[in-house]
Symmetry: C2
Subunit: 353 residues, 2 copies
């Protein structure tokens, strides 16, 4: 467990991430000063209670939360302006930035950071003190980073509610390529193939396709930056994925039974993802409830689920165009599934396991 951070903290850049860090620190009792080249962003962040626009004297930590292209120059400036401060950033790809920052005067007071959190909206009005609650925050030191700089960045992460993991820049970029950038591209490419299909084909779409393609709906611009700066790692994984495709095509040509190894490896891979839902979904039982697709029905169901007293592990809602009803899937510990079915049936719902 990391100790609480001691301020004052200067946050440079009042976008979604910077303002959210500032709001969370302020809520934790840390004094926060704010800076932004855009007066509007700065005013909005101050008006939301994220901190003060007054100049800071001798900050403990400076958080550089500016766009990727401005990180190195901003880090250089704040290292020079605040010779007693630890400096960190929030950029999502680390190797190239780290090499450039490592040669700056004062680089021993720098340790990078990458909060694994975001939202579809950007800017200070989308910020929230809760954005990092329970999320991973990679702490990415330089070889020359002083131990107290690394510790203070981990304290920053803990103070805003995140879970810090320390790794070097290459490990970080390799990890995010695997858990974020490649899955994103795979989702995009599967979704892209839908463009050529007739409407009738799409009418057979179910929840599986929705899951796989959900993240493909994200903003193009942000992803261009991320993929471009992590091109080497992404390229390596794309080549691995192409190898898996060649293997699958070969199996289909020769003996589809050979696909068993690929399918088994996929199942094994899902079990490596930490968390309740990374493990086999068979640890939970699913209760299905049919819900008429009209306003008020879902809240009514939620009230009844709450009244049942059964603890819910997950909820998924599947309602599709042109269908009379939606289907709600509620995951529960198997021993409680019948209790939930009975409670919902008694309240008039079509519930079943």
């Amino acid at each position: 467990m990391n100790a609480q951070l001691t301020g004052p903290v200067l946050v440079v850049g009042c976008g979604l991430i910077g303002t959210s860090v500032a709001l969370a620190l302020t809520e934790a009792g840390v004094t926060v000063h704010l800076d932004d080249l855009l007066a509007d962003n700065l005013d909005l962040a101050v008006s939301r209670g994220a901190g003060t626009a007054d100049p800071v004297v001798d900050p403990s930590v400076v958080v550089v939360a500016v766009p990727p292209a401005a990180v190195v120059e901003t880090v250089a400036r704040v290292l020079a302006e605040h010779p007693g401060a630890v400096v960190t950033d929030v950029a999502s790809v680390k190797t190239a930035l780290s090499s450039q920052i490592a040669v700056l005067p004062g680089a021993e007071r720098f340790a990078g950071g990458h909060p694994m959190a975001g939202k579809e909206r950007s800017g200070p009005m989308a910020a929230s003190a809760r954005l990092f609650e329970g999320r991973p925050w990679a702490v990415v030191p330089l070889p020359a980073s002083r131990p107290d700089a690394v510790r203070r960045v981990a304290e920053l992460a803990a103070t805003v509610g995140a879970v810090a993991s320390t790794m070097d820049p290459a490990e970080h970029d390799s990890a995010v390529a695997l858990v974020s950038h490649l899955p994103h591209l795979a989702s995009v490419m599967v979704a892209g193939l839908l463009n050529a299909a007739p409407d009738e084909a799409l009418e057979l779409a179910g929840p599986g396709l929705r899951d796989v393609t959900r993240i493909a709906g994200s903003e193009t611009g942000l992803w261009l930056d991320i993929l471009g700066t992590n091109a080497v790692e992404v390229r390596r994984l794309l080549t691995d994925l192409r190898g898996s495709i060649d293997h699958a095509i070969g199996a289909l040509d020769a003996d589809p039974g050979e696909l068993a190894g690929l399918l088994d490896a996929g199942r094994a891979g899902t079990r490596r993802i930490p968390g309740k839902h990374g493990g086999s979904s068979s640890e939970f039982a699913t209760v299905f409830v049919s819900v008429p697709d009209r306003p008020g029905e879902l809240p009514r169901l939620m009230v009844h689920v709450g009244e049942s007293g059964v603890n819910i592990e997950d909820v998924r809602i599947d309602h599709e165009q042109g269908r009379r009803v939606g289907q709600v899937e509620i995951s529960v510990v198997p021993s409680t599934a019948d209790t939930l079915v009975d409670a919902l049936s008694a309240r008039g719902w079509s519930a079943y396991r």
Copy 2:
């Protein structure tokens, strides 16, 4: 709108799908007779109220819900035994089966079917009268199928609550390859790459990776059958996917900006998926709620969400190992998001947009 089916109906094969069809038809007032080579399955289905094991006289429709390898022989037998009946099946791949059935005596009384519904559990005890509610049901005639046979299979689908779409065998197999089989393999291959990663890399996993890899956790055996029988279509789409990968690798080597077209095509593809959630997620606002990861908190939240009176479009729960809290994402119409945030905040929750 399809008319209600007139019985009696004979269901051959009392597994998950057959018993669910029988339960739904019985509930709709249709007389159902059951048959299964396995006496245990038949007894269980009868005990669940799915129908009678008495021999049927002159059925209107026979539903062949046996394993894929037994479909042709069973269809041949029931076409011969019940010369006045329309016969259908529920197999998930159609081209090869259709060619074999087309040469059987009485084939003009056959029209294939494929309900797009399933569960992780199998067998008659997992069956439910609600399994097909709101789900697509492909109706797949032979070239020689009589119009009344096709109509009666569509009536069967409508009577059990499904939404019938008529298509030919090649269209069907191409459609399910695109909306189900390729996404499944892509999910499997992305998940498979996780096996080689260090634990630290997986600690950075977020909801996007979970979405993309969720279906990779499915049973290997079932998928081997499906992929093997639809090998030609699956192979074609895998080759297309390999083409997309080559395009992406080329862009990363030359100018990552060229990835913009691929990313835009992915976004466009997600918008082709029918239904509320196929469209841009920006039509809804997301309210985030932090929920302590202990029993009883989620039901309590659900009660409060219900009390707010705000209509919910979707709910997602993200709780990860080693984190103090889970995060619940509630999608609502944007104009109601502030009402929900206020209602939850007033009840003590950390809720934000």
